[in-house]
């Protein structure tokens, strides 16, 4: 095998040039004014990527294993190595595990979590990694409004109280619930919140009306009561659920509740990544 080195240098130089031009084009491109919310297909667990029209990336939960890395790679531009906000709704393994590897591969600017005490190794590793990298972290509490732009914000609806340093019997009871509001469009993101939390919010008469509902607890029977769904009245319901999972998720009653309000059901086990795009007036599914 003979290698012509003059030619090789030319090829390498050419490649760098091509890549440079390519990147110039990408960077110079004005970002379109769309909000993308993607339920990543990571099997049985949760991981949601929010890409705002103002260029921020927000990752909510990371799924049960390292699949999220592949999914992020496919959904984020290759040159983007930074995530503005990482939210952990609660420390269960199917939400926290993938986030550890994300912490190791991306630059994370800020963390939002509940601060509950939990002794699972994955959660402990996650906390250690945050500490070692000295990432700024905040405790989530209802009433917080994360301002993402002139007409875009993420509002925390639950937990009502500060859970920092508390030990919970049922971890799901600490799950962060949030509403993403972009002009006229609302996304309700529920984490693994059980019916008790739903009832609490109904009692407090929080305005829950949303266009998109991320179904709580992967469609288990412990979440998504009919009363709750009727209050939310989503046109679109997203269920993050693994194929043939051992829990039998999603529950039939949950599905029938959603049918009763005529919500379009989107499932990650059937569709893979579910990317919802919004211009602030409407929401549609991006194929």
């Amino acid at each position: 095998m003979q290698i012509n080195f003059k030619k090789l240098y030319k090829i390498i130089g050419g490649l760098i040039l091509v890549a440079g031009i390519l990147i110039g084009i990408i960077v110079a491109q004005p970002r379109d004014k769309y909000l993308d919310v993607t339920a990543l297909d990571i099997g049985q667990g949760d991981a949601i990527l929010i890409q705002t029209p103002y260029g921020q990336d927000i990752l909510i939960d990371g799924g049960p294993d390292n699949k999220v890395i592949t999914r992020l790679g496919e959904n984020m531009p290759f040159y983007d190595r930074q995530i503005d906000l990482m939210i952990l709704t609660h420390p269960d393994g199917d939400h926290v595990t993938g986030l550890i590897e994300v912490l190791r591969r991306y630059q994370i600017d800020q963390i939002l979590y509940t601060g509950v005490i939990h002794f699972s190794p994955a959660y402990q590793t996650w906390l250690d990694e945050i500490k070692n990298n000295q990432i700024e972290s905040k405790i989530a509490q209802a009433g917080q409004i994360i301002d993402l732009g002139p007409d875009l914000s993420l509002e925390i609806l639950y937990p009502e109280q500060n859970f920092n340093g508390l030990e919970m019997e049922d971890c799901n009871m600490s799950s962060i619930m949030a509403m993403l509001v972009y002009k006229d469009v609302k996304f309700l993101l529920t984490g693994d919140a059980p019916i008790e939390i739903e009832e609490q919010l109904l009692q407090q008469e929080v305005d829950l009306k949303s266009d998109v509902l991320k179904i709580g607890h992967h469609g288990s029977k412990g979440s998504t009561s009919l009363e709750f769904v009727q209050k939310v009245m989503p046109t679109c319901a997203v269920i993050s659920v693994g194929k043939d999972n051992s829990f039998g998720h999603p529950n039939l009653r949950v599905l029938s509740n959603l049918e009763k309000v005529n919500a379009q059901i989107l499932r990650t086990d059937e569709m893979g990544d579910i990317k919802l795009r919004s211009d602030g007036q409407e929401v549609w599914v991006v194929e």
């Binding site: 095998m1 080195f5 490649l15 294993d65 992020l72 790679g73 496919e74 190791r104 591969r105 590793t125």
Partner: protein, 498 residues
């Protein structure tokens, strides 16, 4: 009659050694040590008495090496007694040992190789030897050198469908498994300090890659350069296998051969003499293998790469079969189980043998092709390597990738570019991550090109044909025919010339 030259007797002896190992591997019959001893002794005596008679010498040496091969294989089999861990298979046990390798982190679990030292029997610690492969959760993480106490059920490896998992593990001397045991860390950093340092450096390297490339791209590049397949999705792995390009994701002989040839050219280009460049490459290659932590596959690949390089340096690619034979014998002497149970071993030898034997013939066929982008050499190299690996691949996987030659020709030319640009960027990344991240952009482009090709070809429904599994015997016959054809072809050519 054929002349029995020294060279021929030497080759015959080596072949007999391999045949001995092969025979004992496939025919599971416990030879009596006394018989082996007698045969070895008789042949040695005969050799001493009649070394002047070439025929007797040849026969004596053949028998000697045949039995040495048998003996070597037999010695590699474990003696299952109370001091051996496998003795306790199918029992609930408490063990103590040291993590003897870097953990293998998969997408959803981790595999840990534990060198066991003690076992708890009736509340007493007793010495025991053996390795156990532990499957555990991703977190907490365990590192090389951690002293662990584990409690769980020891299980013997078993065949999984068509995959002979037990044999696959036996070649690493693993005869016991444990799934999700209770693990307690007793002490950290109990391993070899130098090796721990090397792994540490390797991890820094890997960190640069992970921080610079997206998931799949980082996974492939990591596999190509560091030999860790962490983070490549199952779907993509399958597409690589369907398109017959899996070797791209391994530190294969072909791979190292490419690197070595490029390095050689580079050093010569820098003004070194050919022989100086050769030793320069050896040193660089050695440092590289050290850096990635001495994986057996990379060591083998390096030996193969060096061999091809040596043959090129000497300008006798045709006669390097002898050197190949020596390398094979050395590797088999170290681990005789490779021959039957390590597909990688067989494939890399097949590939190199193909390059040695077939490439010179194919070069004549393709001499009209342009040399642009290394097109001609990559076509001849790929095809020659494939001629010799095809029967093995069909035998092992039961599918024949129809588009493999096309996929390979499209992919292989960019592999050396990726390796050079990527390794360069990684080295710079150890100093400045920000600069490296930008330098990785063209690498990303090329890796994405490979992923697109592989995914696109892999999803064509005619990309691979299901083929009846071939029997071992048929494969051997195929290879004999193949060698005979090449032989005839060469003789015909020589006649023309003469």
């Amino acid at each position: 009659m054929m002349q029995l030259t020294k060279n021929k007797i030497f080759v015959l002896s080596l072949i007999c050694f391999i045949v001995g190992i092969a025979g004992r591997s496939w025919i599971e019959f416990d030879f009596n040590w006394l018989i082996i001893y007698i045969f070895i002794l008789t042949s040695v005596t005969t050799i001493f008495l009649f070394y002047k008679n070439k025929t007797v010498l040849a026969i004596g040496l053949s028998i000697l090496f045949l039995f040495l091969g048998i003996a070597r294989y037999q010695l590699s089999l474990p003696k299952i007694d109370k001091q051996n861990l496998a003795f306790y298979n199918n029992q609930e046990v408490v063990l103590e040992g040291i993590v003897c390798q870097e953990s293998d982190i998969r997408q959803s679990n981790a595999k840990i190789n534990l060198q066991v030292e003690k076992i708890l029997i009736d509340e007493n610690w007793q010495e025991v030897k053996g390795k156990v492969l532990i499957t555990t959760f991703l977190y907490p993480e365990y590192n090389y050198g951690d002293r662990l106490e584990i409690k769980g059920k020891l299980q013997p490896p078993e065949q999984i469908e068509d995959f002979k998992y037990d044999r696959y593990l036996a070649r690493f001397n693993i005869y016991s498994l444990m799934y999700y045991p209770r693990i307690k860390v007793i002490q950290a950093n109990q391993g070899n300090k130098i090796y721990a340092g090397i792994l540490n450096f390797k991890n820094k390297f890997k960190k640069v890659i992970d921080l610079s490339l997206p998931g799949e791209q980082a996974g492939i590049f990591g596999a190509m350069t560091l030999g860790s397949r962490r983070g490549v999705s199952e779907n993509l792995v399958q597409n690589f296998s369907l398109t017959g390009t899996s070797h791209v994701m391994a530190i294969s002989g072909l791979h190292i051969t490419i690197i070595v040839t490029i390095l050689m050219g580079l050093l010569i280009g820098l003004g070194l003499k050919r022989s100086q460049a050769f030793y320069g490459v050896i040193i660089i290659l050695f440092l590289y293998v050290v850096m990635i932590g001495f994986p057996a596959s990379a060591m083998r690949a390096s030996l193969m790469g060096l061999m091809v390089l040596w043959a090129m340096k000497e300008g006798r690619l045709n006669q390097s079969t002898n050197a190949l034979l020596i390398v094979a014998c050395v590797l088999l002497l170290i681990n005789p189980k490779l021959l039957r149970d390590d597909l990688g071993f067989k494939l890399s030898f097949g590939a190199v043998l193909g390059i040695i034997l077939v490439a010179p013939l194919l070069e004549k066929v393709f001499h009209k092709l342009p040399e642009t982008l290394g097109l001609k050499s990559s076509i001849t190299m790929t095809l020659s390597a494939q001629v010799f690996t095809l029967p093995l691949i069909v035998l092992s996987f039961g599918n024949l990738s129809v588009i493999s030659p096309i996929a390979n020709v499209l992919i292989l030319p960019v592999v050396p570019l990726i390796m050079m640009l990527g390794l360069g960027a990684s080295l710079i990344g150890l100093i400045s991550l920000k600069i490296a991240q930008i330098l990785f952009w063209p690498v990303w482009l090329l890796l994405t090109y490979i992923i697109k090709i592989v995914t696109w070809f892999g999803e064509l429904n005619f990309s691979s044909l299901k083929i009846e599994r071939l029997s071992d015997g048929l494969v051997i016959v195929l290879y004999l025919v193949l060698i005979w054809v090449i032989w005839e072809f060469k003789r015909a050519k020589n006649k023309c010339r003469g």
